[in-house]
Symmetry: C3
Subunit: 290 residues, 3 copies
């Protein structure tokens, strides 16, 4: 067990989270195939490189099988989807399933339009996902078929708070049971659950919602973490969520020192992803197994 | 009247410009549906977040009505347009018209190709716009059917100068009369006019033309300003134009202090949009009603 | 000859490289039509503006001929290609050929999928390119029809090293002979060759591969350099490659002073492209004619 072996592991990191998950990404440089939206695609590519992975963006139906075959994980993001890319998502997903690559779904805007809701439902029918990461409204939409999303943001009524953690964890576990995917619900408090266990994470800050792409970037990073830590997908996902939050915390501190605004915050966030390591993680992780 | 009520309003801000237009954006967080180009879409999303609004980018014909329905304004930008997105623009525009949402048009490159010129003409026939913002050549193309655009930049022959302000104001008023839209012509000097009144704005600097997306970002910001200030669309537009110019002025000052280049300028520009308020506006606005 | 005329030319710059190639870009402001991928398109537009050119991104088959006609060079990049844009590339390329505009090909991911390999082959059959710039694996794929690309990065087995420079130069010259295009192979060491001459360039650093878009940006910059220096395409290309490397070197120095990460590096890189001039080039160029 970790605590027995490593003297400097702080009390706040649960012992079943392995060390060196980020170092594994840097060492293995996994290739991550992303079929994603054109709003945040550059940020996703850059944060994947920052954490040590190699991004490949490709969405034509005639090449997605080839591309997925040379990669180690697939990330599907439904922002700015369209008829053409939906077919590509299905085809890439089925190929990645056949190859047993981890597949991560970011159901951006599920609930905001009939097209998005139905596409996410179709993706869940035709592809077996390893992780689904969304905000509270997107996950609720998948979970209950209720469309409460305010666009691509979570509806305030759905926010995770100290008061509804228990019920949200229960809902996440139930959804994981039904889909077979790890469920990551992110917001002020984050929950990462499989059917039997759940991590509650309290890293990050509200500044992260004042730039576009934090969620998309996190999903991409989870793809990298899973590709490099295949034996521990739940811990890889939870650690990825915490890591992104920690980068946000360090970025905010840097921002306050330099008197910058939201654009500088984005730069600092990616900067710190390119520098983070297990030592920093151990220092800042706020994560508990519930 | 403003000057009667508020002691610290400087002489340079016309009294018919209401206070707190930017604070209204931050308070109401309007959702802005953007059908825009893939070159500057990330900048548009980030500057909308910086000024307090929430961006939603969606361009598939099967979801644009749903998305526009949950938003407060629609921004249509013709950069990198294609067959697929043109239909989406029409459909979204007609839905937004039915819902009486403000609709802003950025006719990027009108005059640079037959496709762009004809698409802009079609958009103007099938959608009632509230604001049209372009450079001098794009607006001239709409106004006179003359295609003098040098690509996506204004032709030097069309630049607004101290010598042609009067005639440009007259042309803007005439185009507003014909289209029913507020006309915003931006360049070294900016003009924002409806059929009867015009503001001349002298904020900003040439550094703003050394990065891509300043125009696109401004159009998005005008969408946010209009959505949050429905009673004063002319003033919301003029204030948005001035505000963007002021952010450029502060960004340039910051740049000179730090010895940066064009990429840093873009970061500072968005940074300052995330911090600007009415007090700063009152200090720097160079705007007159003509 | 240059060394006879100009006293301060350092020994390290070959005499057949003209001075002021970058100043020519800033003076002529050439319009560069880019049909490129949506991952790095914003960086390409911004670096073109930074070096003094004007970018126009347009990929609809119904406007590419119009757009190319008002431009001075065409850049085709096969990242994120799809059925729709392939037709546009062919049409734009043939028009640019007819107009005798320089055309630059960036065969992103050639070898990574059948679609990319076949599309690059088709582009080479139907368009006469002036410059082809890729990493070692992409160029090898074109040269030998061998698909060894690891996604969009070069396969380590293909890296240019001190040991294989001679054979790589020979292969580049042979490919140039066959295609009629200048061949630019970039990596730790860069080679720029036509059928009879080759430059070996040793500027740049590994940090440049830790952000997305360095290659795409370089290809765009080569388009600008060629458009403004039509009489010296080989030297324009070699100088462009060296210039990008030098910006990377200055950016890294700046980064170390400020303790930044990969996102800051990207900002510094573009910043320094907006400031570079022949004097700086002369100081830092590491280039030899072999």
């Amino acid at each position: 067990m970790r605590k027995d072996l490593v003297k400097n592991v702080p009390e706040n990191v649960p012992e079943n989270i392995p060390e060196n998950m980020i170092e594994n990404v840097r060492e293995k440089s996994p290739y991550i195939h992303c079929i994603t939206n054109y709003v945040t695609v550059n940020d996703c590519a850059n944060i994947l490189l920052a954490c040590g992975a190699s991004p490949i963006m490709a969405d034509d139906v005639n090449e997605v099988e080839d591309i997925t075959s040379i990669c180690n994980a697939l990330v599907i993001n439904t922002g700015t989807l369209n008829e053409r890319t939906i077919s590509s998502m299905i085809k890439a997903g089925q190929k990645a399933n056949a190859l047993k690559h981890p597949i991560i779904l970011d159901p951006v805007g599920a609930g905001a339009s009939k097209l998005r809701t139905e596409t996410v439902e179709r993706l869940l029918r035709e592809i077996k996902f390893d992780v689904i990461r969304g905000n509270a409204s997107e996950i609720k939409c998948i979970s209950k078929g209720v469309a409460s999303t305010k666009g691509v943001d979570a509806d305030q009524a759905d926010y995770i708070t100290e008061d509804n953690i228990a019920s949200t964890v229960a809902a996440a576990k139930a959804l994981s049971e039904r889909t077979g995917a790890i469920i990551a619900i992110t917001g002020a408090i984050d929950i990462v659950a499989d059917a039997s266990r759940a991590y509650v994470i309290r890293n990050g800050n509200t500044m992260m919602s004042r730039i576009t792409g934090t969620g998309c970037m996190l999903t991409a990073v989870i793809g990298a973490m899973c590709a490099a830590n295949l034996e521990n997908l739940l811990e890889a996902t939870a650690t990825g969520v915490s890591m992104m939050g920690i980068c946000g915390e360090i970025a905010l501190q840097k921002l306050q020192e330099t008197d910058g605004g939201t654009a500088s915050f984005r730069i600092h966030l990616i900067d710190h992803m390119s520098k983070i390591n297990t030592a920093t993680m151990n220092k800042f992780m706020k994560i508990e197994l519930v």
